[in-house]
């Protein structure tokens, strides 16, 4: 069993007054990857809101899951094709497996094109407005996980 602990960012630099802390939308939550396959625990300690997660999947500036994936969201005209169709994903994966893939899919497949939605380190030349910030907050990650879990096979 391999367990990874990702340390949360310390609030230490607040007192130094550096912009790095000001740029953080929130303090990054620590999480534990179990058996290299899932993050079992909710990042917020609470279940997410699937209705909110569905909105995030559509939102081009936030989740934008539709950029790459087809989803059962018929009112949206354009669905991407670069990633797998996510219809029924809630029957194929556990919540922990989905959470790991949203948080940092490179821990599953290092070559994937998919961004890590909850990661602020190990990135290259991030634009100033986004530096030090994850694409989604911990709460938003949980909302997306909750939404994807509602997508069951017929």
């Amino acid at each position: 069993m391999i367990t990874r602990i990702i340390a949360s960012l310390a609030a230490l630099s607040v007192s130094l007054g550096f912009c790095i802390t000001a740029a953080l939308a929130e303090e990054m939550v620590a999480y534990k990857v179990v058996d290299d396959i899932e993050i079992q625990d909710s990042l917020t300690g609470k279940p997410g809101d699937p209705a909110q997660g569905r909105k995030l999947a559509i939102d081009r500036k936030l989740g934008n899951c539709l950029a790459c994936h087809s989803l059962p969201i018929p009112e949206q005209q354009f669905h991407g094709e670069t990633g797998p169709d996510l219809a029924g994903v809630g029957s194929r994966l556990t919540p922990g497996e989905i959470r790991l893939r949203v948080v940092n899919p490179k821990l599953v497949n290092p070559d994937t094109m998919m961004p890590a939605f909850y990661r602020v380190t190990g990135l290259n030349r991030v634009m100033k407005d986004f530096a030090g910030k994850p694409i989604l907050t911990a709460e938003q990650v949980e909302d997306v996980v909750a939404y994807l879990m509602t997508l069951k096979e017929d």
Binding site: F78, A116, N124, V126, M127
Partner: protein, 267 residues
């Protein structure tokens, strides 16, 4: 198939057109715009967009090209010379657009067409260089490359250009930005698939500078590269930077065999 059905259900002309492009990927249909596996952006464009490119009177880029044709004949700078004083008719530029960027010995690095024009202005005309994205430099670059229109790209990466090619290749394959994506993820691995409403192309540069409908203006390749970098939320480099000229060499060599289309029309 699922996409196609969805598009048909939506009944929109736009989605029908996208689906149409996806299913008519036929070598015979594209003529010179498809060479082996290489496909010009022309083959990914909407029929209406291609129609504008095919008619120079409809292509708005020609406003800048026509202005540049006048500049070609206009003496500027302390030397009191025009382009035409040394190069005579602009047709003498035929073939230039297929070869750049080149390794330029006095600089010890690469030079693209924009930089060649400005180097000539500064060193030979004793004139001020034009700003990178200015109408004058865009127009003159398009006028020069237009002389090679239809000729196959044949950029060299031999000899002293080789290490710069390698740098360009490394850039192309390097992840960047908050979205942590490399050029190759979209333009090699997923060319021809839909990224939401956008059809991903191979990112071939043979039509640049190009009139882009989204910009409502002609623009340089480096402007497009900046846009691409910003889309993955990465800090862009400056237009004319060494990083982008090296990348220009890599992607121009990748386009070898495709025809020069400058000034193309793209979405």
């Amino acid at each position: 198939m699922r996409r196609l059905v969805l598009a048909l259900l939506c009944g929109s002309a736009v989605s029908l057109a996208f689906a149409g492009v996806a299913v008519t990927d036929d070598a015979a249909q594209w003529g010179p715009y498809k060479v082996g596996d290489k496909r010009s952006g022309y083959t990914f464009a909407q029929p209406e967009t291609r129609a504008i490119q095919e008619d120079d009177f409809e292509n708005p880029a020609f406003l800048l090209v026509d202005a540049a044709a006048e500049l070609w004949e206009t003496a500027e700078g302390e030397a009191g010379k025009s382009c035409a004083d040394c190069h005579e008719d602009v047709e003498s530029m035929k073939g230039v657009g297929t070869r750049y960027p080149i390794y330029f010995e006095p600089w010890g690095k690469l030079m693209n067409v924009e930089q060649r024009i400005n180097q000539c202005r500064v060193d030979n005309m004793k004139a001020e260089p034009w700003k990178y994205e200015s109408d004058a430099l865009l127009g003159m670059t398009m006028l020069v490359k237009l002389q090679s229109r239809g000729m196959p790209m044949e950029v060299s990466i031999d000899g002293p250009a080789a290490p710069f090619y390698e740098k360009g290749k490394a850039f192309y394959e390097e992840r960047r930005g908050q979205l942590d994506m490399a050029c190759a993820h979209c333009h090699v691995d997923n060319a021809g698939t839909m990224l939401r409403a956008n059809l991903l192309t191979q990112g071939q540069p043979n039509g640049f500078p190009t009139y882009r409908l989204k910009w409502q203006k002609a623009g340089s390749l480096h402007r497009r590269l900046r846009g691409c970098n910003k889309q993955v939320r990465a800090k862009p480099f400056k237009a004319g930077s060494d990083e982008y000229v090296n990348l220009e060499l890599y992607i121009s060599h990748r386009a070898n065999g495709l025809p020069v289309e400058t000034p193309a029309v793209r979405n």
